[in-house]
């Protein structure tokens, strides 16, 4: 494939907007279609893309409510699926069958069985199915993984990951549409733990919620990796002090620590006078955001320039671990995972 890649975004919600903004920065990709059941949302995303696009170009993205229109356009090479998770499997299947590369937002699918079915459609090596585990593009995690692999902390033994925030509301806290803290939020850290320390042997999790099952939910999980490393993961939609992530690895020769709240590359505080609420906004600015890096990487994979940083099979394993954690919390007992190939 050479020249410009034609792209469509399906689902003009929060993640669709983020990926469209990243696409607007890529000169060798052009957004051709935006699909959403809400034409208003689709138009808003299109407008944002147009205003972000630095160079004038012919043929701005069109909005549609039909996947056929997108798959009938032979200039569409890749489809970003950013809908709610229950719709992922069917949409990805159609796009793959139509020969398109697919960027599937995480979680890969609603169930592990659906994820495995997709694997059969999209052989791993061809890189036709990419799953948006964006944390693998956050430089702090990349750095931690590199330091672990370089042996700086000796044998890793104990991992502590934390990802806490207030309630996201909306469909995220509706158990019919969302996989909850374990399957949605903490899925990031389950994926990071597998990426860094290899396959999981068993998982045990505890869950509490202010309004069960998943509204203002707080989850604590313990993962035993096959090599003996233990990961403790905390995820919360019940926190009050804004978004905070931590990741810490203790090994036989040292520790690695990251805490998003410990250092503030940029902290913007507005006082209440004349504005109503006091506002504190921490930021970690970078030239290319992790979302930009992720989209660039995906385009490079589609163009055959590199191998994917995450395979669809690994995304299924991360989902399997997250859902096993949720199941463990429900049953009140540990769950041993089926023998899985180490994703390392």
């Amino acid at each position: 494939m050479t020249g410009t890649l034609g792209v469509a975004v399906v689902g003009a919600g929060f993640m669709g907007e983020i990926h469209a903004a990243a696409l607007a920065k890529q000169e060798d990709a052009r957004l051709r279609w935006v699909l959403d059941h809400s034409p208003k949302k689709a138009r808003r995303l299109t407008r944002a893309y147009r205003s972000a696009r630095s160079t004038a170009e012919r043929g701005w993205p069109k909005t549609t409510e039909s996947l056929e229109a997108i798959l009938g356009d032979d200039q569409v090479d890749a489809v970003f699926v950013c809908t709610q998770p229950k719709a992922h499997a069917a949409l990805a299947k159609e796009c793959l069958r139509a020969g398109r590369a697919v960027f599937l937002e995480k979680p890969i699918t609603w169930t592990v069985a659906e994820g495995r079915a997709l694997l059969r459609l999209a052989p791993v090596k061809k890189g036709r199915l990419f799953v948006g585990h964006v944390c693998r593009f956050f430089p702090e995690y990349v750095q931690i993984r590199e330091r672990v692999q370089a042996g700086d902390i000796g044998r890793p033994a104990m991992v502590r990951a934390s990802r806490v925030m207030g309630s996201p509301g909306g469909w995220y806290t509706d158990p019919q549409r969302s996989l909850g803290v374990a399957g949605d939020l903490l899925l990031h850290d389950f994926d990071l733990a597998l990426w860094m320390f290899g396959a999981a042997q068993r998982v045990y999790a505890l869950s509490q919620a202010r309004r069960p099952p998943i509204e203002e939910q707080h989850v604590l999980a313990s993962v035993r990796h096959k090599d003996g490393t233990i990961s403790h993961l905390e995820g919360s939609w019940a926190h009050v002090d804004g978004f905070r992530t931590r990741f810490e690895v203790s090994g036989s020769e040292g520790v690695l620590e990251f805490d998003s709240s410990r250092r503030a590359p940029l902290l913007w505080k507005q006082n209440a006078s004349g504005r109503g609420k006091n506002l504190v906004v921490p930021e970690s600015p970078s030239h290319d955001s992790p979302y930009d890096l992720e989209v660039r990487h995906f385009l490079d994979v589609v163009l055959g320039r590199c191998r994917p940083r995450i395979t669809a099979a690994e995304a299924v394993q991360s989902l399997e671990l997250a859902l096993a954690a949720a199941q463990s919390a429900k049953l009140g007992k540990p769950i041993t995972l089926a023998a899985a190939r180490s994703p390392r």
Partner: protein, 333 residues
């Protein structure tokens, strides 16, 4: 009023040197003498504190003690406290109260039978940030507690701590009792079940050096506790930590008990270090012990509290072996 004469029974546990300082510095007390099996360390320490070393526990007892502090290795607590309980000497016993729940139970019963004061050394209860947290929780400032994430990590203590015959176990036995006791004390609840993971990946010795406890509590909340010996001793700026993050219906309470420090970076040191300036929890614990002895009051931290914590750490050890959730068995003293 004359100073209370305090006998020290064994210098095995490194906390003893802080307790010696506290007793020496507190005007309510004086060091009556030190018994320790190893004469070299015993004599040296006795000289340092201006007291006598005794080769036999009975000799120190004969001196006439108002109270005793036991800092032997975990497994020796039962034998040492038996002598003291029989002599009706009020005792502060280093944690864990026993190397096993059965031993801790025997110790607690010995003192109950004699009607003698037994205090378990849980100094974290006297850390001002912890005390303040308890106040807030007692006022129900957090509403119903949903979840607690906690740590009590440290550097590898080595020596008898790593010898299962003397310690009864590693990082789980050594560390988990502190925060388990805090959970019980802060929330006024019991630990119902424990699931635990542990490994020997840090030092590859005879005992576990990492420990992760996942607990359900009687009040409906859940808690995790990392008890690993995971602080790199040569380079880390401090010995370890005691932290609790409580998520409640009405907010979040984060306690970092040993964070009252200034950071020092000096060309004269091979690493940055933390210089503590907060109140000494040990000093306030010893002070509470002395007051209880003097006033014939109830134990500030009973043998039952010591026993309950060991019952949880023992359940954790069992879970780490069986990979099953273990219900905590609580025995009446």
């Amino acid at each position: 009023m004359s100073a209370l004469q305090i006998g020290f029974f064994s210098l095995d546990h490194l906390h003893v040197f802080s307790y010696l300082d506290c007793v020496a510095q507190n005007e309510k007390s004086a060091i009556a003498g030190i018994w320790h099996p190893d004469g070299k360390l015993g004599r040296k320490t006795a000289r340092q504190y201006g007291c006598r070393w005794y080769a036999e526990p009975a000799k120190l007892l004969d001196k006439g003690l108002d109270a005793a502090i036991v800092c032997s290795a975990n497994r020796a607590h039962l034998a040492d406290t038996r002598v003291l309980a029989q002599a009706s000497i009020p005792t502060l016993c280093e944690k864990p109260l026993g190397a096993t729940a059965a031993e801790a139970l025997k110790i607690a019963r010995l003192y109950t039978k004699q009607g003698t004061l037994l205090m378990t050394a849980f100094p974290c209860r006297y850390s001002p940030p912890v005390v303040r947290a308890r106040q807030l929780l007692s006022n129900a400032e957090l509403g119903r507690i949903l979840s607690i994430s906690s740590t009590n990590r440290g550097t590898f203590p080595g020596g008898w701590f790593a010898e299962p015959r003397q310690s009864g176990g590693g990082a789980i036995v050594d560390h988990s009792v502190h925060v388990v006791d805090l959970l019980r004390w802060l929330l006024g609840t019991e630990i119902d079940s424990v699931y635990a993971e542990s490994s020997k990946r840090l030092f590859q010795g005879k005992v576990e050096d990492t420990g992760l406890l996942m607990m359900t509590l009687s009040d409906g909340s859940v808690a995790s506790l990392d008890t690993s010996w995971s602080r790199p001793g040569k380079r880390y700026p401090t010995w370890g930590d005691v932290t609790l993050e409580l998520v409640g219906e009405k907010g979040l309470l984060a306690v970092d008990a040993f964070s009252q420090v200034v950071d020092l970076y000096s060309n004269r040191r091979d690493r940055g270090v933390q210089i503590p300036w907060g109140d000494s929890a040990d000093a306030w614990m010893i002070d509470a012990f002395l007051d209880a002895v003097r006033n014939g009051a109830e134990s500030p931290i009973s043998g039952v509290a010591g026993l309950r914590a060991v019952e949880v750490s023992e359940a954790a050890l069992r879970s780490a072996r069986s990979h099953e959730v273990v219900r905590v068995q609580r025995t009446e003293v």
